[in-house]
Subunit: 290 residues, 2 copies
């Protein structure tokens, strides 16, 4: 393969009209330029330069190489620009994966703030469950993950994780439920109720909490859509454990009541970036957790 460096030297010679001038432009010595040119000619098998008077000109073979040398110089300059943009956030990409209710409640505002501050960065958002989000991060398909963890499924330890906030799980019941008026609900009092559960992690959390309360929940409905969960509850079809944030994300549903549980339980919202996080990812992380 032809050496790109030498093509660029050929280009300088053509631009300046002499090896000496090219050498000065490249901060090289004259023999060095001559050496590289000779090597290039040897490799090409045809003469590339010719002297006319005291200026060095390219032969037609040299000029046919020149076009490509220019293209390479352009590409290198573009590459340099691109990488600089990645560093100073005047360009590049930021792909975020976050779980549903965080997407709905907490993300839009900082996302807009970031987009205003760094208009050159192309921002992407994937709304996914935490497990899938972490898989995307590991595969390099996203740059930053916002997920949640609890006792049942702790946060990953192999990447940089920062806790953002605690999100309390509330008991959600039909307004007609016998325990509906109590200020706090012991989960054991719901041992015989029919349960409605959300995502994988929430289900694991429910099982852990119920287990601590000494019972195994009867899960009759499974849906990741929190509005559906609340409508089912409003119709008296069951009870559920929902994070505050999920409740805040969905419109008020009449006919249900919510209450803190005893014991209380939380999910911990965390932010994860890989060790080799891009500048954009680090900056956005700083925006969420100053």
């Amino acid at each position: 393969m032809i050496d790109a460096e030498r093509l660029l030297i050929l280009r300088e010679v053509s631009r300046h009209g002499s090896k000496a001038a090219a050498a000065r432009a490249l901060t090289l010595s004259e023999p060095t330029v001559a050496h590289h040119l000779a090597a290039l000619e040897r490799q090409a098998g045809v003469p590339l330069t010719t002297r006319v008077g005291r200026v060095t000109r390219l032969t037609s073979a040299g000029e046919s190489l020149l076009e490509h040398a220019n293209a390479i110089a352009d590409s290198l300059a573009s590459a340099e620009r691109a990488i600089a943009q990645h560093a100073d956030l005047s360009g590049g990409r930021l792909r975020i994966a976050a779980f549903t209710s965080y997407c709905a409640v907490a993300l839009p505002s900082p996302l807009a703030q970031f987009a205003r501050r760094y208009p050159g960065v192309e921002v992407g958002l994937v709304e996914t469950e935490t497990d899938d989000a972490l898989a995307l991060l590991a595969a390099g398909d996203v740059d930053l993950v916002i997920g949640f963890a609890d006792d049942a499924t702790p946060a990953p330890r192999d990447i940089a994780v920062k806790m953002l906030e605690s999100d309390e799980y509330l008991a959600v019941m039909p307004a007609t439920h016998p325990a509906a008026r109590r200020p706090t609900i012991d989960v054991a009092t719901l041992a015989d109720d029919t349960w409605i559960s959300g995502c994988q992690r929430c289900r694991a959390h429910l099982h852990a909490l119920a287990n601590a309360g000494g019972f195994t929940p009867q899960i009759a409905f499974q849906t990741e859509d929190y509005v559906t969960v609340q409508r089912l509850i409003a119709e008296g079809l069951g009870v559920a454990l929902l994070p505050r944030m999920a409740l805040a994300a969905s419109p008020e549903v009449p006919g249900i009541v919510t209450a803190p549980t005893t014991p209380t339980s939380y999910r911990e919202v965390f932010l994860a970036v890989p060790r080799e996080a891009s500048a954009a990812a680090r900056t956005f992380a700083g925006l969420l957790a100053p």
Copy 2:
């Protein structure tokens, strides 16, 4: 400036999914690839690769570099193709400069032969006087020159010159001229005639020949167009010295006669290529002078 070589290494890593595989593809060792990548990352200031499982993937910064690396690889491949075409005559250019009558008489056939044989080569022809043609050659604007020389203005010595043929100068007179019936003409018998001369070199030759014959020609008309010369002669306005080739190049003009001179004189048609002639120029030269 970013090193193009390293961008190509990054490209191979991306294509093969591991540094080891990239090293094999590049016939390098694994540490060497890692070293170059580390250098590139140091220069870029941002991480370019990330490991996911046992495959190495590019970060978004790395992928933005990848596009440019691909462009550079394409350019290098194109450059290699272009130079190969120059060597094997499947491409490239051949620019010829030749004097008028050679263009008209001798050039078309070998030119067509060359174009048929090497259809990829872009052929150009400049019809010019020999002095200008040699200047074009020196400036690198043409690749091959066909010119003529005689005692007055000899062929250049600083470039590779090959004699092609001798072209005899004939005396050209009106059919009504007193000497018109003679088989050969002593130039001295035309000492008192009015002369018509062609180009710079022909005029120099005429002066030299007349000088040898002991007279200075009265030159009343100067034109480089040989048809004009012959028409002027046919009208009885003068006599001239014209090379056989020039006469062959122009249509038969009635009312003129031609005859060899004593002493005979010739112009020598030569072919000149620079030392660093392209393959196309050398090949075409071989066609003209096997």
